[in-house]
């Protein structure tokens, strides 16, 4: 394996990116997907609790190409993919850049299995394209979110706990985690129950990820892990349902790769929500959570909601994968600085 670093030449870094772009396109075109390019400057983005857009003169820079790609699907596009420049304000670190590349793709009439297989295919293809010599294939496993939480903390949850219920359950097992969790519903209306619930589950996920899940993953050896069946409140833009044990889940997964002492969250996929009213309620819930935390309000994605209502989103599953992180793994690097081709200070 190469040992890249600050002294790597621009030619090497350009060759890595070229190999990564070509490998991603080979895989997804080979699966019958068509490449698209959607606008980077948008009127509205998917409203998320802790994702802040970079503001452009008139509009917002895309935090992901999700909504414009779904509008294409509503209006008749086939299965599509995109390698998109995305921007998320104030995300800076060894594994974060304010500007980065997302591979985003949607499969018509399919569920999450083929989408997870795409993640595995792209990981293998990009790794083979940039590494010298033979690389042993990465073994992949699948674990359910609630099972993994129980296995690593003893917390046995149903996935539909309200904020007060979650606070009580967490406090019994991990008092330190319960502190940032809201412990009661705001009494002003039924919407506030949903806001507090989302806030509590999001805080639990953050605390668990940082304190337990990442260290646990680091000990798993070289492996890819799809964490599936997220608890229902963390549904984002995925459909919800129940699992075999009757727990409330979202048809959402996140893919992690553990390799060379690094734990990277690589991809995030949904069985896409198609119900426009439910989608509008979810945006409102997230907007409520943002208000509770004093985050700036974001415009409601009205054009996207209108297409969901007017044309309807066909049954599909999709995911987004961080291409910079995949290249980081493939090249054996530890800091995105090793991949910078920006001439000037990386952001």
């Amino acid at each position: 394996m190469r040992t890249p670093g600050a002294t790597d030449g621009v030619a090497t870094v350009c060759a890595w990116w070229d190999a990564a772009f070509a490998a991603v396109r080979d895989v997804l075109r080979g699966q019958g997907l068509s490449e698209v390019s959607t606008p980077v400057r948008l009127d509205a983005i998917a409203i998320e609790p802790w994702i802040e857009p970079v503001r452009a003169d008139a509009g917002l820079l895309a935090t992901s190409p999700e909504l414009p790609m779904k509008r294409l699907l509503c209006r008749g596009a086939p299965s599509i993919f995109q390698i998109a420049h995305c921007f998320r304000a104030a995300e800076r670190g060894a594994l974060h850049r304010e500007e980065f590349h997302l591979v985003e793709w949607y499969r018509h009439g399919e569920d999450l299995g083929p989408v997870r297989a795409d993640v595995e295919r792209m990981h293998a293809a990009v790794t083979a394209a940039v590494r010298e010599g033979e690389v042993a294939p990465l073994p992949w496993r699948t674990e359910a979110w609630l099972d993994l939480l129980r296995q690593t903390t003893g917390l046995d949850l149903r996935g539909d706990e309200t904020a007060p219920q979650l606070h009580e359950a967490v406090a019994a097992v991990r008092p330190a985690w319960a502190r940032p969790l809201p412990w009661q519903d705001d009494a002003t209306g039924p919407d506030q129950v949903a806001v507090s619930r989302l806030d509590a589950w999001t805080a639990l996920f953050s605390a668990w990820s940082d304190d337990v899940l990442d260290p646990w993953l680091a000990e798993q050896g070289r492996v890819g892990l799809h964490v599936v069946d997220f608890p229902a409140p963390l549904c984002a833009l995925a459909q919800t349902g129940s699992d075999a044990r009757g727990r409330a889940i979202a048809h959402r997964f996140e893919s992690y790769v553990v390799d060379g002492g690094r734990v990277l969250e690589l991809a995030n996929g949904y069985r896409e929500l198609r119900d426009a009213d439910e989608q509008a309620r979810r945006f409102a819930t997230v907007a409520g959570l943002r208000a509770v935390h004093g985050l700036p309000p974001l415009p409601v994605p009205e054009a996207f909601l209108a297409d969901l209502r007017g044309y309807g989103l066909p049954a599909c599953a999709g995911a987004a994968m961080g291409l910079d992180r995949l290249l980081l793994l493939a090249t054996g690097s530890h800091d995105l600085a090793a991949l910078d081709v920006h001439l000037g200070a990386p952001r």
């Binding site: 190469r2 040992t3 890249p4 670093g5 600050a6 002294t7 790597d8 030449g9 090497t12 998320e48 609790p49 802790w50 994702i51 802040e52 304000a89 104030a90 995300e91 800076r92 670190g93 060894a94 594994l95 974060h96 940032p180 999001t202 805080a203 996920f205 953050s206 990820s209 940082d210 899940l213 990442d214 963390l234 984002a236 996140e254 969250e265 995030n268 935390h293 004093g294 985050l295």
Partner: protein, 186 residues
Amino acid sequence: MDVSELKKNAKLEIDGQPWVVTEFQFVKPGKGQGLYKCRIKNMITGSVIERTWRSGERLEAANVESKKMQFLYATGDTYTFMDNATYEQIEMTADVVGDDRAYLLDNLDCDVLLYNERAVGVSLPSHVVMEVVECEPGVKGDTATNVTKGATVQTGATIQVPLFIKQGEKIKVDTRTGAYVERVNE
């Protein structure tokens, strides 16, 4: 300041004390709240602690002013600087100067940081030119830059340089990362 403005070398005031961020790690679990995990150093006592802030929190920036000074010399653990305007001299201990002492060349112009008129640190130019006083022999014709060797410069620090660099040559070094930038031909 907003927590999102945190970065390495940011100066914070916490309970009336100035702190500088020495290590900075941003982590953010899938769509969760971002965590800014920092190692911070008290600019007066030199003590180091770990602190984590969450997205959305606010911090107070430390009121640290900087003065143009010249580094004169080091004797033992004491580093002496001179104010370019008033010729007044001030001293700092090696602990307060910190890792930057690897790049402190005699007569180097730098910014000395003052907190309530007390010297609490030094801020170097982003690049310095240093002379290689000792390294393995150069390898002729090898201009690849992704293979390196250690080279000792006149401050005693070791810099990773490409194989073609020879003893006695001058190199430009990035003081923020300690990385070799280029050979300097004079």
